[in-house]
């Protein structure tokens, strides 16, 4: 497949780089950036499973993220159980939700699918803000910090390796989706559903399965994020901004490629950090200026490089290869 060897090498470099970071620096700001790059990258990879590989472009993945985040936060804050138990419950609930939305929206294509996923996430947001007795409503839930692995009260270094593990699992799953028979079927469904169906592929089941897998991974990311950040509220964890962010990393990096979401996460996080440093003097306006640039970059990328950075690099790589072949 295209973008194979250099992509794998770049990914290996990226993950190895993240793994040695704690050996080089214990600066908590730096570690925090790496952890967030890995977490957002993993979440975008999870989105990519549905959006990139199965062509089910969702703008409501915050629904699954929020389910995971709330399950973990409620488990540790309300029931004083391990957030890992909450994570497991969140994953199960997300799989059910993913099956439901995948099944219901199955006939919908293009913008209709995106719209129905937005509506789904909005419903969950409203439920989480109104069901005060259970979720504490819009005030949100502060997650208690209890040191230990079982309670997920970890230091930055441990968090980094945990996030790296999740990233590797997500990356591995994507590679599997590229190389395996299932992956080829999925590509068939994405490129031409009618043709795929004519070849005897159970397109419907495959698409729902992809959304379920994507939902489960997103919930894992949500649970870990809730424990890492230590606070959960409906306006953020179910927000459309978050859904856009998952999609955006993948689009900037390259949809339907294993490296894309991580590359996008690195670029966006670096852009965010750089702009934050540049505009920190203009306190009130900062977030606005950052997001104006973010929106503009998105417009420009989908217009001029709809295949993202990996697609762009692929094109350059091929052109160079062709030039070299000509010279030889």
């Amino acid at each position: 497949m295209r973008w194979l060897a250099p992509g794998r090498a770049a990914a290996a470099l990226l993950f190895a780089g993240a793994a040695v970071v704690p050996l080089l620096s214990r600066d908590s700001f730096f570690l925090d950036s790496v952890i967030l790059i890995l977490l957002w990258g993993s979440l975008s990879a999870a989105w990519n499973v549905a959006g990139g590989y199965a062509g089910q472009v969702s703008l409501g993945h915050a629904a699954f993220f929020g389910i995971g985040a709330y399950a973990a936060a409620l488990a540790s804050a309300r029931y004083e159980q391990s957030p890992w138990l909450g994570l497991a419950v969140g994953v199960l609930l997300s799989i059910v939700a993913g099956a439901l939305i995948g099944y219901l929206s199955n006939r919908l294509k293009g913008p209709y699918f995106a719209l129905s996923t937005i509506a789904f996430a909005e419903v969950l947001k409203i439920v989480a803000s109104r069901w005060r007795g259970f979720t504490a409503g819009s005030e949100g839930i502060p997650v208690p910090y209890r040191p230990g692995f079982w309670t997920l009260g970890l230091d930055h270094v441990a968090w980094l390796y945990l996030a790296l593990t999740l990233a590797l699992v997500c990356y591995g799953l994507q590679v599997y989706l590229e190389k395996s028979r299932v992956g080829y079927r999925l590509a068939g469904v994405r490129e031409d559903e009618d043709a795929a169906e004519a070849l005897g592929i159970a397109t419907r089941r495959l698409k729902v399965a992809a959304v379920m897998l994507s939902a489960a991974l997103t919930a894992v990311g949500g649970s870990l994020w809730a424990q890492y950040v230590g606070f959960v509220d409906p306006a953020h964890v179910f927000s459309i901004d978050l859904s856009i962010r998952f999609a955006l990393n993948s689009i900037i990096g390259g949809m339907g490629t294993a490296l894309g979401p991580f590359l996008g996460s690195v670029l966006i996080t670096m852009l965010e950090t750089y702009l934050r440093a540049t505009f920190s003097g203009m306190k009130a306006g900062f977030s606005g200026i950052y997001l104006i640039i973010y929106g503009t970059v998105l417009i420009l990328v989908v217009r001029f490089a709809p295949e993202g950075v990996t697609g762009l690099a692929d094109r350059v790589w091929r052109r160079r290869g062709a030039a070299r072949a000509e010279a030889a």
């Binding site: 472009v57 703008l59 219901l104 929206s105 006939r107 919908l108 294509k109 293009g110 913008p111 209709y112 995106a114 719209l115 129905s116 937005i118 509506a119 789904f120 909005e122 419903v123 409203i126 439920v127 109104r130 459309i240 856009i244 999609a247 955006l248 689009i251 949809m255 009130a284 306006g285 977030s287 606005g288 200026i289 950052y290 997001l291 104006i292 973010y294 929106g295 503009t296 970059v297 998105l298 417009i299 989908v302 217009r303 709809p306």
Partner: protein, 304 residues
């Protein structure tokens, strides 16, 4: 007195009031939805930035009122013109390049536009909630046991007029026919010598002009802030899908249905849960009748 008898007349008033509220709220939703249904129906583009133009329209009315003491209704004709031009510009700068691109590219282009516009407003005018109170927003009209304010009535009247005007424009004029032909079959229209680029440009400009004008009418009724568009645009999508793509009359009817669900829902379940109702309605319609309640022709091509 018999409690049931005491309940009698009050209940009738409640239902009359609910009906009037439905009608007036529906008018506001229709104002926002007609432009959207035009763009969605003819260009087959989901404009996620539609709500941001509403927000900009509200800001225009706000600043005209607070700086120049101009009534939103005076600003209204100017809004139509200004936002027509804004629509032309947006089309030339942003939409034109992606009109033939895939749905994903279009979705994320308008999402990017929405993020950028929201934050331009945030940087320029901060995130404060701005409220204007022109004289007509405090005029209460009482009629047969119901009460409502003048601004709402005007918004409703303009919504109906706008819908009928657009409907006539699409049915009776040559340009309207050309636009409908393009919506039905882009390639065939091109073969018939229609300049589809011009059609899309015009469609987008008219759609944005409508929602910009809607901003002026909504400004006296709702607070203006950078994310003000978001609460309406999701509802507008419910309306557009319910009414059928590009169907003006459907948009008006869809608005009334959504408003009825919202008003009745708030009355029965309390205001907190009303949004859940229309999102559930939305998912239901998308799943069971994606072509809209009236089965608009051509909706299925959207998925192609």
């Amino acid at each position: 007195m018999d409690p049931a008898r005491r309940l009698g007349p009050a209940e009738i008033d409640v239902f009359a009031q609910l009906a009037v509220s439905t009608l007036l709220l529906g008018g506001i939703y229709a104002l926002i939805a007609v432009g959207l249904t035009l763009i969605f129906g003819i260009m087959r583009v989901v404009n996620f930035a539609h709500g941001e133009y509403l927000m900009l329209g509200m800001y225009l009315a706000f600043w005209a009122f607070s700086l120049l003491a101009l009534d939103p209704y005076v600003v209204l004709p100017a809004s139509l013109v200004i936002f027509f031009v804004v629509g032309l510009l947006t089309y030339a700068l942003v939409m034109r390049g992606v009109i033939h691109a895939s749905h994903n590219v279009q979705i994320f282009t308008t999402v990017g536009l929405s993020i950028a516009l929201q934050n331009v407003a945030l940087v320029l005018w901060t995130g404060d909630f701005r409220v204007i109170r022109p004289w007509h927003s405090s005029v209460v009209i009482r009629l047969g046991g119901t009460a409502f304010n003048l601004s709402q009535v005007v918004a409703f009247a303009v919504a109906v007029a706008l819908t009928i005007g657009l409907l006539l424009f699409m049915r009776r004029t040559h340009t309207g026919r050309v636009m409908r032909a393009t919506a039905q079959d882009r390639d065939a229209a091109t073969l018939m010598g229609i300049d589809t680029d011009r059609v899309y440009r015009l469609t987008f400009a008219i759609g944005i002009a409508c929602v910009g004008a809607a901003g002026a009418l909504v400004a006296p009724l709702y607070a203006t802030y950078p994310q003000a568009g978001l609460q309406f645009v999701l509802i507008a999508y419910v309306v557009v899908v319910l009414g059928g793509l590009g169907d003006m009359a459907g948009a008006l009817l869809g608005s009334l249905i959504v408003a009825a669900v919202e008003v009745a829902g708030s009355y029965v379940f309390g205001a907190a849960w009303k949004e859940v109702l229309y999102f559930v309605l939305f998912i239901g319609v998308l799943v069971f009748r994606p072509a809209g309640l009236f089965g608009q022709r051509g909706a299925e091509t959207l998925g192609a």
